[in-house]
């Protein structure tokens, strides 16, 4: 057996050189690549874990937000229901109040219209009564009517208390109003009759007013004695109106 020591040495060197070369060009780069991939995978897994944790956090936040929104929505619905109920009650009350006001207004309108109609009827009745009285008076002698009505006026004057008579007649001018002009004799007789009853000198004037229909009226600064048919008609119409008002109020 022969061993070639040069070959043995060269082969040992060759293998050692091959070890160095493969370590330089094979193992080191490949191990580095594997480690880099492992590091990238670890980083990716860490990133995925972080993303998952973030997603879970966001999901929890969204869930909480949804819960809060649902609670808000329920609260808003309750508020809207309450507001709607309040509006409904208020509208009902307003409608009821308006209806009552409209009813009151209608009643007042009806009452006012009835009063106006009544006044119009009273006016027409007074006018008609005056016309009727005037037509009836035309059938009687004016002197007779005047004499009777003036006598009644002087009776009223005589019936007044002395104190009232003194306060009403203080010497100021008086006017005797009649529906038709008086003759001079009638004026003299009227002047005499009044002068006897008054406590002061008489300052008397005469006027005509056909609206009195019949009778006479004595007018002064502090006195107004009415003894005419017009005054009687007015009294009667006033009583009728008062009776109607009392009946309506009752």
């Amino acid at each position: 057996m022969h061993i070639n020591w040069w070959t043995l040495t060269l082969q040992a060197i060759n293998v050692l050189v091959l070890i160095w070369l493969l370590s330089r060009f094979l193992y080191r780069p490949v191990v580095a690549a594997i480690e880099a991939r492992q590091a990238a995978a670890d980083a990716l897994l860490a990133s995925a874990a972080a993303a998952k944790a973030q997603a879970e956090t966001e999901a929890a936040a969204l869930k909480a937000s949804n819960t809060a929104l649902a609670a808000d929505a329920e609260r808003l619905r309750a508020e809207v229901r309450t507001a709607a109920d309040a509006d409904r009650v208020r509208l009902l009350e307003t409608a009821q109040t308006d209806a009552e006001k409209m009813g009151e207004a209608a009643k007042a309108g009806i009452a006012a219209e009835r009063d106006a109609m009544r006044k119009a009827l009273e006016t027409q009745a007074a006018t008609l009564a005056g016309d009727l009285a005037a037509k009836l008076v035309q059938h009687l002698p004016p002197a007779v009517i005047h004499e009777a009505m003036f006598q009644k006026l002087t009776d009223q004057l005589a019936a007044m208390l002395e104190v009232d008579r003194a306060r009403s007649f203080d010497g100021s001018a008086l006017t005797l109003v009649t529906p038709t002009p008086l003759h001079d004799s009638e004026r003299a007789r009227c002047r005499d009759a009044l002068a006897k009853l008054l406590p002061v000198p008489l300052d008397l004037a005469f006027e005509e007013e056909p609206g009195l229909i019949g009778g006479c009226e004595l007018r002064g600064a502090h006195v107004h004695l009415r003894n005419s048919w017009r005054a009687d008609l007015d009294d009667m119409l006033g009583h009728l109106a008062k009776d109607g008002t009392d009946a309506r109020d009752a």
Binding site: T7, L8, L18, F25, A33, I34
Partner: protein, 229 residues
């Protein structure tokens, strides 16, 4: 074809240095592996190509084997063990190329490989425990076993050499004899068997290297653990 198992054909002389066939073949293998590795690893990417994925698979397989066999981190031993396996595999399979004789079928190459394993065992053991500690490790578990441990240190290297040389040389010789007797196509089944033998021998050599170096490292570890207790 090898005329004698112990003869090496000298191709040229460089001064007093004879350049034999296995040396030239080994240079070719070095060129092939180095250039191939450089071509594949010069463009490594995070998303690997098919070649890169295959290479990573091979390197990862080496790392797993080292970790499982030696029970240590594979990084310091990966270049040595991986190169043993790759070189032996390519060298053993180089017999498939017509006119090429595998370098491992010569005794010098196998002795050189066994000496490298021998040196690596000493280097890693001494690096881990120091010279004195490593020498004392031969007296474990008893001083009576020191001679046997010392003899084993050399004989296992010899066994590495003889095993590899015997298997590869015998395969080459058998194929050569059958080829000379039976013709061109008859040795093909034997060549296929030689492929299997070459792969098995490469794995066995690498595995035994891991076991020897791992034994030194594990002895060191056990001594350190004993010292700590």
């Amino acid at each position: 074809m090898i005329s004698s198992p112990f003869d090496t054909q000298v191709l040229l002389m460089v001064g007093p240095v004879p350049i034999t066939t296995p040396v030239v073949t080994t240079w070719g293998i070095i060129l092939l592996l180095s250039v191939g590795s450089w071509l594949i690893t010069r463009r490594l990417a995070l998303k690997p190509s098919r070649a890169q994925a295959a290479l990573e698979l091979v390197v990862d397989m080496f790392s797993v084997q080292i970790r499982e066999t030696m029970g240590v981190a594979p990084a310091p031993y990966l270049p040595l063990i991986g190169t043993f396996f790759l070189y032996l595999l390519v060298a053993n399979w180089s017999s498939l190329i017509p006119g090429v004789e595998p370098p491992t079928a010569t005794l010098e190459t196998d002795i050189a490989l066994a000496l490298i394993v021998f040196g690596a065992t000493l280097w890693f053991g001494i690096r881990a425990l120091g010279v004195n500690g490593y020498v004392r490790s031969f007296a474990q578990p008893s001083i009576l076993l020191a001679p046997l441990n010392l003899i084993e240190l050399f004989t296992r290297s010899l066994s590495l050499t003889v095993r590899l040389f015997g298997n590869m040389m015998s395969g080459v010789f058998v194929i050569g004899i059958v080829l000379s007797l039976a013709g061109l196509l008859v040795p093909i089944p034997l060549m296929a068997l030689e492929l299997l033998t070459g792969a098995v021998q490469a794995y066995i050599f690498g595995a035994l290297a891991m076991v020897f170096i791992g034994g030194a490292v594990s002895e060191t570890t056990s001594i350190q653990q004993k010292a700590m207790t």
